[in-house]
Amino acid sequence: MDDVREKLSRCFALAFPKMDPSQYAAASAQNTKEWDSIAQLRLLTLVSEEFGRDIDFEEFEGATSFQALEQALQVQ
């Protein structure tokens, strides 16, 4: 579990370089101005690279918060 969170945090650090790491856990597309559809694609591609997994963009389309992404990655 910690491993998923740590890796996901690394992706957030790259996709949202201006975000304070303490805010990652609560971050979502709703409360993060930079988190638009392009940022979502970048983030998912970084996740795919970091986790070494193929990401189905359709499946992850609704995963627009740190928590939702973490959950989806743990399920997989």
Partner: protein, 579 residues
């Protein structure tokens, strides 16, 4: 490069953008933009780079709008879907026979429009073009193992378009062959991302493209000379052991690799690359070997031939002296690791490459490596003259001794021609590759070079030279601007081939004469290599050892200290009236 690494590079820089580059595409820029920005920032050692992109699905509009903006350069990425949307997998307009015919007709018209637009863009800035890098979707009824009429007609339209684009000197095309080395065709298309977001490239493919963009925008300066060994390198066999008839370079002798190498050297020599020999051999027998009628590299293309029994690095040193170029401009090829190490130790800047005489595959790799070292976009008149002028001058100097006397210069019938540089590509090339006689070592992009000439009071001239040993072509560039109180020079370079003829003194004399300036202010910067320029200033008691600053040469000091000049001057240099 991984995407994470690209983001790290981009995130590390807080510097203001050093350059702005248009990335013009019809697809979503997404990761191609990220990799291009990261690779450019790597090139600029972390400095910021501004990438401007356009609207999705509107390549033509994006190119048109870029024509109205200023930028360092533009990268244009064309995919089949930009030629016609129906050629992409996001369209479902049908693949029936009549549709295919219409696609070809539309594609031909689109290619013609795009070619005109690219030419227009290229008048404003250098343009890099990547043609379609993806395969077409399975559109025709013919088996994929065979070329279809439809695909051939499309490729023909595309090839005609690319050929037309390539005819403009400011347009460069990305080589698909080179691209395939790092991004094989089967690993390029990310169908999921294409359908989901309109970005059709895999990460690997996007990164490979970005790498080639940067190589094409900022190619390394080509090397100037190659020094080759003979035995087991230029030919198979040890000449001293097997004799002139025993050495070989042919398919029948299982030594075709040596023939290819000879062919490459002959081709390089034709394009202005200096070729010399450094060989431990008997000079007489080498001369005889070069008289063999089947030799592919003629002795007339080689100068000098350093053949003897001395140390290789000493032979290399004498060649460098004759050529008068720095070791970092030279490649040394030998089959012996020991000789390569010995030369490499004495001249660490020389690129030492082993000739793998018993491995044909590795020989072909070496030939590609050499093409990379010496690759240039065009062959100029100066390239054709280079070898003859070096040979003539060196031979004459050896007769006269090492010092060039005023008496010698008075007899060589030197002619100096000054002309406005205008858009002369040679002037741009010379400024960006000259090290030794270079006022400040500043290198210019094509866009920066154009703006130099637009300054108030600006002047930019080339200097050509010939004497009774032959023409040297355009060998110097002098540029700057005039104000009410002085003439300012910030561009001044001269090819090392033109040293010892007092051409630099004549150029400055002409500048004083044309501008009637009381003084010339030189924007000087000391570099590791510009010793010859410092010597010029020392002649006028100016402190060329200053690291950086303005050196002021007064007209009266120049008149007092300038050596006697014997050139005939052909003045074609039209300075504007405000000068």
């Amino acid at each position: 490069m991984r995407l994470a690494e690209a983001f790290q590079i981009i995130g590390q820089s807080s510097d203001p953008a050093k350059v702005k580059i248009h990335l013009l595409l019809g697809i979503t820029p997404l990761h191609l933009e990220t990799f291009t920005q990261a690779r450019l920032m790597q090139h600029f050692q972390g400095a910021g780079v501004d990438i401007a992109t356009g609207l999705y699905g509107d390549l033509e509009g994006n190119v048109r709008r870029a024509c109205d903006e200023t930028a360092h350069s533009a990268i244009v990425v064309i995919e089949w879907s930009d030629i016609d949307q129906r050629l992409g997998i996001r369209s479902s307009a049908g693949w029936r026979a009549e549709t295919l015919n219409d696609i070809v007709n539309q594609a031909e018209a689109k290619c013609r429009r795009l070619a005109s637009q690219l030419h227009e863009l290229a008048t404003r800035m250098p343009v890099i073009v990547a043609g379609p890098t993806l395969t077409l979707p399975p559109m025709t009824y013919q088996p994929p193992s065979e070329e279809s009429d439809f695909e051939l007609r499309l490729k023909l339209a595309l090839a005609q378009f690319l050929l037309r684009a390539a005819n403009h000197h400011a347009i460069r095309l990305i080589s698909d062959t080179q691209l395939a080395l790092t991004s094989p065709i089967e690993g390029r298309h990310d169908v999921n991302l294409d359908l989901h977001a309109g970005f059709p490239y895999t990460l690997k493919h996007a990164d490979a493209l970005a790498g080639l963009f940067v190589q094409s925008l900022f190619p390394p300066a080509p090397k100037k000379g190659i020094i080759t060994d003979l035995d087991q390198t230029l030919w198979r066999g040890i000449l001293g052991d097997v004799g002139v008839e025993g050495i070989n370079w042919a398919l029948e002798g299982k030594s075709q690799g040596h023939a290819l190498y000879q062919q490459l050297l002959a081709s390089l020599a034709d394009s202005g690359v200096l070729v010399a020999v450094a060989s431990k051999n008997d000079p007489g027998i080498v001369e005889e070997a070069f008289r063999r009628p089947d030799i592919l590299l003629q002795s007339s293309s080689v100068f000098p031939m350093e053949v003897g029994w001395g140390v290789k690095s000493e032979a290399v040193g004498r060649i460098l002296q004759t050529w008068n170029i720095g070791p970092d401009s030279v490649v040394f090829v030998d089959d012996s690791p020991m000789e390569l190490a010995e030369v490499g130790e004495k001249y660490p800047a020389v690129e030492c490459l082993r000739f793998p005489s018993d491995n044909p595959g590795a020989i072909v790799d070496l030939l590609w490596r050499l093409r990379t070292c010496f690759g240039k976009r065009e062959i100029l008149e100066e390239d054709r003259l280079r070898l003859a002028s070096i040979r003539n001058f060196a031979e004459h100097r050896s007769e006269e001794g090492s010092e060039v006397s005023a008496d010698f210069l008075s007899r060589i019938e030197g002619k100096v021609t000054l002309e406005s540089a205008g858009s002369d590509q040679r002037a741009f090339e010379l400024v960006n590759k000259t090290n030794q006689f270079n006022l400040n070592g500043v290198r210019y992009s094509e866009a920066e070079w154009k703006t130099l000439a637009q300054r108030p009071g600006a002047f930019l001239a080339t200097v050509s030279y010939e004497d009774r040993f032959g023409p040297l072509g355009r060998i110097a560039v002098l540029g700057g601007y005039c104000t009410d109180d002085a003439c300012h020079v910030d561009v001044w370079v001269m090819s090392c081939r033109a040293f010892s003829r007092h051409i630099e003194f004549q150029a400055i004399r002409q500048l004083f004469s044309k501008t009637s300036a009381a003084e010339i202010r030189f924007r000087f910067k000391s570099t590791e290599r510009n010793g010859p320029l410092k010597s010029f200033f020392a002649h006028f008691e100016l402190n060329g050892s200053t690291a950086e600053g303005e050196l002021v040469l007064r007209a009266e000091d120049f008149g007092r200290l300038c050596p006697r000049l014997f050139h005939q001057v052909n003045d074609k240099w039209m300075m504007s009236e405000k000068n």
